[in-house]
Symmetry: C2
Subunit: 366 residues, 2 copies
């Protein structure tokens, strides 16, 4: 028996759903970011995320941290979770603030808990294997002060992910190798990525973290003392409305730091569980096109498409026939009020385009 | 005074409006072909065509030959023309049939008339100059048996037009050189086109013809005797409904031949008036993009567009923001139910795409 079988009371999930997902514009909008889109499959990504962990973690132990603006949509989409398990941020302040608030909230309920911090908008092909890895990570994290992350075995020299270099220290937990993290590496150049994959000592940084509530609060206290002290009153306030008032007051002035940079890259006792479960952070339109089935010409089509000499395109147009001639590797996204066209190689620049529209005050399409 | 000043009673216009314009799909549809689109400017192309000649030819001398399917739209668009001046074909049978019917119709009304056969869907930048050329051509055509065409001075080695090689015979009419046609040449290769332009003995074939009613009927009798004899009864039938019955009976079995191939390329007494008046047959999306004003990046936009590194595109999207990254020389046409994307260099293949949809029975988008 693993210490984190499905009946285990100590494992909580904290789903981080605060992202804006501007790279999925024009499908993602301020009012409906990526995690609230059914971009892969019938459910929204956050519903898929909750469903994926449900065999391991029951609803009452799933916590969602998200933007106040998405309150109604989230409560509707995840109506089987307790209302009090939603922590709505008045403004986004990156993941360190989000993790700190969730950890303080959990400490009052289950001070011995292990919390798994999971992005709301990733996909995994082999969900059972993912849950096994998550349970192993939780077992590793039961030792005080350990911070644990899940590292993905690279399948190709991806330049869109950060990497983790594994160290020499190794544990055997539940029949799996678990490594001490030597260091985190930013998104590499193509050359670097190829070198990493060849060296076999690097894993992709999945952005999933597992730790005891007291471990992470201890590390936040150490590396982000100002954040810890600003949010401290939330941990002691009794009434829910009192907590909400503190958050409304404190949150806007918190430093926006990621938990990766703020804590993980500086902490000493960091471990990684390697996993291979068909993971993707679904970070761009190109990633989508690699996750959905393609036709014989390599085109991924949602909607109707007829083409002459058209190959390897991603075409999303649920309401309109898309007719193309002589195109390759293009992304075409048609929504009610916006049409986006760009080469797959430029899909990261969708963000720049959104920034341009922001500067121009085109609120109606943001 | 020219013999065809604006008060001249003998000059009639026959506007050929039977085309389908599939190259402007998805804007052009079976129910609304190119000549019924306001593709350049506020008016439809056929309204522009009528307005352009109106200073020279009054409404009662303008005849429109078109498809039965477009009756209501044409009568509404051209409500200032007499209803009896519309000749509606039950099926399209190319231009020789259309010209023959119109000539027979005219012979009953004005046997001495000169008729100018004009496509409904061309544009001319200098309309006054065009009318001058047309009047000159009508003067040339007053001599019995002459068939006259307007040839456009080439501005570049266009491969999308047919050419006319001018002969040595020359007339001086109203201060203009008018040449005997040596021969008509099909759309040339790029090399040929360059040679034609360099030789300076070639003009573009505009598809506009001017002749006396008796001249063209004589030539049709000679070169297309079967067509002439099949349509002969229309010329003698008295009542309008009697004529309509004959057309309904005869038209479907007529040979579909162009007046160019059927008569012009074979006739002996053919003359061309050279003209330079900013003419285009508006034959493709690329042609449209060359006729409309472009922004600083060379993009021609109808609707709203925001782009990063986007140049020389034609973007038609009246109802939706088009956002692009890293595109060049692309045609993007957005309608209520279809989105077309193709490189400008492939715009002639829109026809193939429409044929594909026809084979698939996609009636709703044709």
């Amino acid at each position: 028996m693993t210490p984190f079988a499905s009946s285990s009371p100590q494992l909580y999930a904290v789903i981080m759903a605060g992202g804006q997902g501007t790279r999925f514009w024009p499908r993602s909008r301020r009012r409906r970011p990526k995690q609230l889109l059914n971009i892969l499959g019938a459910q929204t990504m956050i519903e898929q995320t909750v469903a994926r962990i449900s065999p391991l973690i029951p609803p009452e132990r799933i916590v969602v941290v998200a933007g106040e603006a998405h309150r109604d949509q989230l409560l509707a989409a995840l109506s089987h979770l307790p209302v009090e398990n939603f922590l709505f941020e008045p403004v986004g302040r990156n993941t360190a603030a989000c993790v700190t608030w969730a950890a303080l909230w959990l400490r009052r309920r289950a001070p011995e808990a292990v919390m798994a911090v999971l992005p709301a908008d990733h996909v995994m092909r082999d969900e059972a294997e993912f849950r096994q890895i998550l349970a192993t990570a939780a077992a590793v994290a039961q030792t005080a002060n350990r911070l644990v992350t899940i590292g993905i075995q690279p399948t190709h020299p991806e330049t869109g992910y950060g990497y983790i270099r594994v160290g020499a220290d190794r544990l055997q937990v539940e029949g799996r190798d678990v490594f001490r993290v030597e260091r985190f590496v930013e998104k590499p150049s193509r050359d670097k990525a190829e070198q990493f994959v060849a060296e076999r000592r690097y894993l992709w940084n999945s952005g999933m973290f597992i730790w005891r509530v007291d471990s992470i609060l201890h590390e936040i206290q150490r590396y982000l003392p100002q954040l810890a002290s600003e949010l401290q009153p939330v941990g002691t306030a009794q009434a829910a409305d009192q907590q909400a008032a503190i958050i409304a007051d404190v949150y806007p002035r918190l430093e926006a730091t990621s938990i990766d940079v703020g804590v993980m890259e500086r902490a000493q006792d960091v471990w990684v569980v390697p996993g291979s479960f068909g993971w993707s952070d679904v970070g761009s339109w190109r990633a989508i096109s690699e996750l959905l089935p393609a036709d014989s010409q390599g085109n991924v089509v949602v909607g109707a498409h007829r083409g002459l000499e058209t190959s390897d395109c991603l075409i999303y147009s649920p309401n309109k026939l898309v007719a193309t001639i002589g195109l390759a590797n293009l992304v075409v996204i048609e929504t009610d009020d916006v049409l986006l066209i760009c080469p797959k190689t430029r899909d990261q620049d969708v963000r720049k385009l959104v920034e341009l529209l922001e500067r121009e005050g085109r609120e109606e399409v943001l």
